[in-house]
């Protein structure tokens, strides 16, 4: 039988099998496992059936805890059930996993092994999560390659049904879950043959049913629990053999033979490395290379890690083994060794004691850590370990792949050692996220993988930022299966799809001698050489690279492709890399275009064809001169005035040299200084706003909506203009709130602006002479970059208005306060960050922020730079992220500390009153801190207090000194998205709000899981399409605002800056002022809505005007005064829901996929809006006892 060869990634490989052998699938998104759930959902939505001919039910849950609960329930009632998860998700499943194993239940969880958050979160791969689940009693089967993922997904399912031991089938997050490989796809017959229906019937029969009632889940006592717990032993004893049996059966059916432990290398090896996961592939490659050179080495690839079969393990090792290195992709601080190492020690020692050790002598055994958080693991590192094993006393408990210079555990390795074969085409592509480079490369892999006999591999490295993101694609093609599970280090083809990259870092650093360099440039073939920096020119000459150029943007423009250069650059690659004959390749590209875009319409296909045809005429080879001629030097990554840490550490990370930084450069506890985005001048905007003071009405709207704090305003005494740069603009300040003669400046941060144009969109001031122009207008950035850089520098040094003098409860006033959140990595035009920035302007100098995991934690604190910053007094937001699910509780913890410290401080002030002076003590104790002035005065008092305490050696004085700052008001802000607030964190959120404590909660409501790629949350509106709701969400958005209003004592507001920015400012101020729990739901437009981002504020307006997002403030202070606490801040819906919804692709796409259903859901949604508005307006209309006739609210 010939099976289909397919090119897919690990997630798809696992999901493909899992969907075929299950009946119920409960899911929850978590990186990098989310695509498995998405695939499963998509298969079911498309009507794909499992091997028994029925479509599996897929259910999204509110958390991994919920998913595991649902899985447990489905298993208990007899369905074949699975789930997919990783990292903290797996940790949340552990309680259920103990039960599922304890009840001997057959199931397989497919896990993309991912780092568990410790000193920092990481989305990348290591075995920290699966190792944390070791004690649950689950079998653990490791897949090392994409082919193995598909094969083991099936083998584990077959084995669990027979063994009754549940399985974790795991593979490395990103390296395996996201690596694209050409593999042989199991067909349905294969799967059918592997699964024994009798076992399935037995599983069902064990399920609970009132028709044959049984009881499980008892409570047992000391007399019997222990004995009952030991009853399972035979199942675990039998399990390894069952797995091997399944592997043997699989080999008979499919032809690939696996073992619990697979050995590769010299049969007479004296040195052996033991490891599992994708690293085993790189080790295999190194072993094959080195054994050919005569080295007596081998690698033992662990597949079944649990139950650990000592016999099979020993039997798999060569009898000649003298030294073993055991590699763990995890760290267990304080343990005698990492898990696999300990198992190996135990196994060999046990065999030795039993006298069954087959080796001549007891081998040397060392353990080491590698690859944490997807750290590269290469053949060079493998070689270093074998070399270490040669030593008489090799280093134990070593690390490899890093420079660990604190306790010196790391092994050195030769970075130049390479096992890459010349027969393999190795290509690196640098692109922007938005230019389609990755998509085109995925396409190329499919072409080569599916149209030729070559094997193909693709791995993609993405940015940690969301705007102007750099992507690096690593593609390999060759005649043999590819085991290189590491980034390409010696590329024979490098393509740089964006000209400006060449001034940021040396893109051809990894090019091999005689290789090819393709550059997309605006320069002609004659001028191109001169545009290269010296370093690049030198590299081209030194490495004798062939240099090609194309102006892909010109071709794209001419062929109607806009800014999408993907097809063009892909054609270039095929034209000059020689992977395939040119004409053949072009035909394949066209076939692929037809396949990809066919359903999107002929027009799109033709456009792409045309682009392919036009490309070759615009692709040129540049004659490389014999010497460096350029006068351009690579600019400094960070400015000289940057702090040392930024210069020494951050700058290296920025130029992709983070791997070289030694351990000693890092904080030991994950604590960093804030305010470092200011040193990273990204210059990603092609155009930036330019201010026209004559037209400006100084309203502050541009500034309040700016997601990146890149357009700012200030009002100041003109005397400070003395040394202003010549082009620095100002105009008399408007408004009565400013001293006579003061001036106003609106200034753009030219190198931080992302060019989203949202500011221009909201600017209400039009040029009366030319209404197409406004008070700010987009203009090309490069010509004014230097001038505006100087202007911005000058602007930042102007004194800010005294916070006590600013009318903060106005849009303009709020924008005179310094943003303490700036230049984040959020999407250009982000709908969330304007709220976060506003928060920091209003309260940043006294705010402690607890941030749920999600977009806001990523743009808030993903290395290398941090947008939260400090003011001139050194005050600013203190920020931390605990987890996704516990954020409300985490923030409440802050509050408890601040309250307790404040209370203790007050007690001490009281106690020491006579010593401190009664007036000071009384001032501190009776301070009114409800205004900026009040807070300022209290800070002055506390400062005086600290001065007095400084030299006081009494125990009380020391205590008071250490907590004196807690006597000044602290605002606790708990920030997160709707995934947190509506779903995973809802229970905790409810509890914290019900606590009555003074916390402020900001829900950045994008109505979808944005950070993990658009999965449905309970905030998703009725009728919207999202992942896990491909047919449109059939149920209405949870009205969490209404739910929390029912408590009566919680301040609740719903805001949308794009509809009413002033209401937003007021709600923030009221929430902070309210001495109790507050929650603000802030409508945040999002790229996941399928909108043009610069129109985000218009989308917000439409959302409110349609009644979909009814704005209100519910202030318990009003009810305390006998007044109606509910004030509606948006009017009766004035546009239809359709008029709002069909502006956005999330709703509109359903009219294309399921038009009848779209109409039905649209009608339902409209009805829902009407009834909700009715409810709100009725409540708001109730006259409470002290209500004066209803005043017109702003």
């Amino acid at each position: 039988m010939t099976r289909q060869m397919v090119t897919l990634d690990g997630n798809e490989a696992a999901a493909y099998v899992a969907h075929k052998v299950n009946e119920v699938i409960a899911i929850y998104p978590i990186t990098p496992s989310s695509p498995m759930g998405e695939w499963a959902d998509q298969y079911s939505a498309e009507g794909q059936k499992n091997i028994w001919g029925t479509i599996p039910q897929v259910m999204e849950m509110q958390s991994e805890g919920g998913a595991s609960g649902a899985v447990h329930g489905a298993l208990q009632t007899g369905a074949l059930t699975t789930t997919f998860t990783a990292s903290q998700g797996l940790l949340l499943m552990i309680p259920n996993m103990f039960k599922i194993a304890g009840e001997l239940t057959s199931t397989v969880f497919h896990v993309t092994a991912r780092t568990v958050a410790t000193h920092a979160l990481s989305i990348f791969g290591d075995h920290g999560d699966v190792m944390a689940a070791r004690s649950t009693g689950w079998a653990m089967l490791a897949s090392n390659s994409i082919q193995e993922i598909m094969d083991f997904a099936l083998i584990s399912q077959a084995a669990t049904l027979e063994a009754r031991v549940p399985f974790i089938h795991f593979f490395d997050g990103f390296r395996s879950s996201h690596e694209v490989q050409k593999i042989e796809q199991l067909d349905v017959e294969d799967i059918r043959k592997m699964i024994d229906d009798e076992m399935v019937f037995a599983h069902r029969q064990r399920g609970l049913s009132p028709d044959r009632p049984k009881l499980r889940g008892t409570a047992q006592n000391p007399d019997v629990f222990f004995q009952a717990r030991e009853t399972i032993n035979p199942y675990y004893n039998a399990c390894p053999e069952i797995v091997q049996k399944a592997m043997d059966k699989f080999a008979k059916i499919v032809g690939r033979q696996y073992h619990l432990f697979d050995y590769v290398g010299d049969p007479q090896a004296d040195r052996v490395i033991v490891l599992m996961g994708s690293g085993a592939e790189a080790a295999q490659e190194a072993v094959e290379y080195l054994t050919e050179k005569g080295e007596k080495i081998g690698v033992l690839k662990v597949h079944l890690f649990r139950p650990f079969s000592v016999d099979s393990f020993i039997a798999a090792l060569p009898k000649t083994t003298k030294a073993i290195a055991v590699l763990d992709r995890t760290k267990e601080p304080g343990a005698a060794g990492e898990p696999l190492y300990q198992d190996v020690i135990t196994a060999i020692t046990e065999m030795h004691i039993a006298g069954k050790l087959p080796f001549a002598t007891f081998p040397k055994i060392i353990g080491g850590r590698y690859g944490l958080s997807s750290k590269e693991f290469t053949p060079a590192m493998v070689k270093a370990i074998y070399d270490e094993l040669k030593k008489a006393s090799p280093k134990n408990h070593f690390t490899i792949g890093i420079n660990e210079d604190i306790t010196n555990t790391s092994l050195d390795f030769d970075p130049n050692f390479s096992t890459e074969s010349d027969k393999v085409v190795r290509a690196i592509f640098f692109g922007l996220g938005s230019d389609g480079t990755v998509g085109a490369n995925k396409n190329s892999i499919k072409i080569i993988g599916e149209e030729t006999s070559n094997y193909a591999q693709g791995y993609f490295v993405y940015d940690s930022k969301k705007a102007g993101t750099v992507t690096v694609s690593h593609l390999r093609f060759g005649p043999k299966p590819i085991h290189s599970t590491y980034l390409i280090d010696k590329a024979n083809f490098v393509a740089c799809h964006q000209q400006f990259f060449i001034e940021k870092f040396n893109v051809i650093e990894k090019a091999t001698t005689g290789g090819t360099f393709l550059l997309n440039t605006l320069a002609s073939k004659e001028e191109a050489w001169d545009t290269l920096p010296r370093e690049i020119q030198k590299t081209i000459i030194d490495k004798k690279l062939k240099f090609y150029v194309i102006d892909a943007y010109d071709v794209a423009k001419k062929t109607g492709m806009g800014v999408m250069i993907n097809t063009i650059m892909q054609t270039c690659f095929f034209a000059i890399s020689g992977v395939l004959p040119k004409d053949e390749a072009i035909q394949y590209i066209k076939n692929a275009i037809k396949k990809t875009y066919g359903k999107k319409g002929e027009q799109v296909v033709l456009k792409n064809y045309n682009a392919v045809d036009q490309t070759l005429a615009h692709l040129f080879e540049v004659k490389v001169p014999g010497q460096v001629t350029s006068k351009i030097d690579m600019p400094k990554t960070v400015p000289d005035e940057a702090p040392e840490f930024v210069k020494n550490v951050v700058a290296k990370i920025l130029i992709s040299k983070g791997d070289d930084i030694p351990t000693s450069a890092f904080p030991v506890d994950g604590t960093f200084d804030t305010g470092t985005t200011q040193y990273e001048k990204r210059n990603i905007a092609l155009e930036i706003p330019e201010w026209d003071p004559e037209v400006c009405i100084q309203c502050g709207k541009c500034s309040i909506v700016c997601p990146h704090a890149a357009i700012r305003q200030n009002v100041y005494d003109p005397k400070f203009l003395k040394n202003a740069p010549a082009t620095f603009k100002h105009t008399p300040a408007r408004g009565k709130d400013f001293p006579e003669g003061w001036v106003f400046t609106l200034q753009v941060a030219p190198e931080d602006c992302t060019g989203c144009t949202m500011c221009v969109e909201v600017c209400p001031a039009k040029n009366k002479k030319e209404v197409g122009k406004k008070a700010i207008n987009m203009t090309p950035q490069p010509p004014i970059r230097l001038q505006e850089r100087e202007n911005y520098k000058f602007f930042l040094n102007l004194p800010l208005m005294d916070r006590r003098e600013v009318k903060v409860n106005s849009v303009k006033g709020s924008q005179l306060l310094q943003p303490l959140f700036e230049y984040s990595g959020a999407c250009a035009g982000c709908g969330e960050t304007p709220y976060v920035k506003l928060l920091t302007q209003l309260f940043g100098d006294r705010a402690a922020i607890a941030n749920a995991t999600g977009c806001s934690s990523i743009y808030g604190a993903n290395l290398p730079t941090f947008p939260y910053t400090k003011n001139k007094e050194g005050r600013g937001p203190a920020w931390s992220n605990s987890l996704f699910e516990d954020n409300a509780e985490f923030g409440l913890g802050y509050r408890l500390t601040f309250d307790k410290m404040n209370e203790f401080g007050r007690e001490l002030v009281q106690k020491m009153a006579s010593e401190l002076g009664d007036q000071l003590a009384q001032g501190i104790l009776e301070a009114d801190q409800s205004t900026e002035t009040g807070i300022y005065q209290q800070r002055e008092r506390v400062s005086a207090l600290k001065e007095k305490l400084k030299n006081n050696k009494s125990a009380d004085a020391k205590q008071l000194l250490s907590i004196a700052d807690m006597l000044v008001k602290k605002s606790v802000w708990i920030v997160g998205g709707d995934g947190w607030a509506y779903d995973i964190g809802y229970g905790g959120l409810d509890h914290v709000l019900a606590s009555g404590r003074n916390v402020n909660i900001l829900v950045l409501d994008t109505e979808v899981y944005s950070n993990t790629g658009g999965q449905m949350s309970k905030s998703t509106p009725l009728g919207a399409v999202a992942k896990f709701a491909a047919a449109g969400k059939p149920l209405p958005k949870k009205d969490a605002g209404m739910i929390f209003m029912t408590y009566g004592n919680i301040y609740v507001a719903r805001v949308a800056m794009g509809y009413n920015d002033l209401q937003t400012v007021k709600a923030f101020i009221e929430a902070d002022a309210y001495d109790g729990p507050s929650i603000i739901f802030a409508y945040s437009h999002c790229i996941a809505h399928g909108i043009t981002m610069h129109k985000g504020m218009e989308e917000q307006k439409a959302a409110v005007e349609s009644g979909h997002y009814q704005l209100f403030r519910f202030n318990p202070l009003l009810s305390q005064q006998g007044k109606n606490p509910l004030i509606l801040d948006s009017k009766e819906p004035k546009i239809s829901f359709e008029d709002f919804a069909y502006r956005e692709n999330r709703f509109k796409m359903l009219t294309k996929s399921k038009p009848e259903r779209a109409k039905m859901l649209l009608d339902l949604a409209q009805k829902e809006i009407k009834s909700r508005y009715h409810l709100y307006s009725e409540w708001a209309g109730i006259k409470y006892e002290n209500d004066t006739p209803k005043e017109e609210e702003e």
């Binding site: 989305i123 938005s434 480079t437 944005s1010 658009g1014 790229i1087 996929s1153 038009p1155």
Partner: protein, 334 residues
């Protein structure tokens, strides 16, 4: 009363045909129009832009932000297949055909000879009885000669005609230097019908917002005069069927068009304002008028007042202008 008429070879039971408007987006409305007595229906227009760009728009939003950030490599589930606007339109034609017994005329709105012309073929395959081409072209380019514009109309017509066998009508704007000539040329190039005229939506200025506002101003009976005059002029000059469109609000309006030489009277604004059932009232009124005036059939009225038939053909030309002005001044400037 025999109200039958022949429009581009389609035998119609009466001359009232709802013109292209959003009303026909809803199958229920089409059914109501048929019940009210509509003799045929022109479906809402499918725009060239829709055919060309809608797919691209969807593609843009489905790919925006994808493959950029490790945690969110896409933001939407990609449906296995989806209906694009043009496909929906074809489906709509099929459904309209299925649910009614009257001829269904599809309407294509565009200005270029791009790929959308192939689409005419698909419209035919979907079952449309005829096709109305609405060439909505506003000549704003100062370098463009009027001849070029006229040729463009001809090229589009010929391209479409080469693709389909069903009758094709051209909907024209009144803004031609030589309307009679272009009408004749299109007639000779094979147009089966001429629809006079399309209404260009005229933008308005909002002085509060300082914005150009698109605004639809519905026609009134006063707007009938323009098509009325040109139908009267063209009736004996072209072989093609003539449809009067714009300003048909009452039975008298419709009858005037017929008298001028129109084969059908297309209604739009009156139906949008008064609902589909209003067509029935107009029909009833037409019947009553013809009976009262003792016409034996509608065909007797047809063309009885075209330029050739009236006593003073010049009344449709420049002289009429003088007369109208004189009357105006007599009335108001005494």
């Amino acid at each position: 009363m025999d109200l039958t008429t022949n429009y581009m070879g389609l035998k119609l039971k009466n001359p009232l045909v709802p013109s292209a408007s959003p009303l026909s987006k809803d199958l229920d409305n089409i059914k109501k129009l048929e019940d009210a007595g509509a003799a045929a229906i022109v479906l809402y227009s499918i725009f060239e832009e829709q055919i060309s760009y809608e797919a691209e728009e969807m593609d843009y939003f489905l790919t925006q932000g994808t493959n950029s950030y490790a945690e969110a490599l896409s933001y939407f589930p990609e449906p296995d297949n989806y209906y694009r606007g043009p496909e929906e339109y074809l489906k709509h034609i099929q459904q309209a055909k299925k649910s009614t017994n009257i001829p269904v005329i599809a309407s294509l709105n565009g200005v270029s000879t791009g790929g959308w012309i192939d689409y005419a073929k698909k419209i035919e395959q979907a079952g449309a009885d005829a096709l109305e081409l609405n060439v909505y072209f506003l000549a704003t380019d100062t370098k463009m000669e009027s001849r070029q514009i006229e040729n463009q109309y001809k090229i589009i017509l010929q391209a479409v005609k080469a693709n389909v066998k069903i009758p094709v009508a051209m909907k024209l704007s009144p803004y031609f230097s030589s309307l009679a000539r272009i009408a004749k040329e299109l007639d000779e190039a094979g147009a089966n019908g001429l629809v006079l005229f399309n209404r260009f939506y005229q933008p308005d200025l909002d002085l509060d917002e300082l914005e150009v506002k698109p605004g639809v101003v519905l026609s009134s009976s006063n707007d009938l005069r323009l098509p009325l005059r040109w139908i009267a002029i063209l009736d004996d000059k072209v072989k093609a069927s003539l449809a009067g469109s714009t300003g048909v609000h009452t039975a008298i309006d419709a009858l005037k068009l017929i008298a001028a030489g129109a084969d059908i009277a297309q209604m739009c604004a009156a139906l949008l304002l008064n609902g589909p059932a209003y067509l029935g009232k107009v029909l009833q009124e037409m019947n009553r008028w013809l009976e009262t005036k003792e016409y034996d059939s509608l065909s007797t009225l047809r063309g009885s007042m075209n330029q050739k038939a009236v006593k003073n053909p010049a009344s449709f030309e420049r002289a009429n202008y003088m007369k109208a002005l004189n009357e105006f001044s007599n009335k108001y400037t005494r």
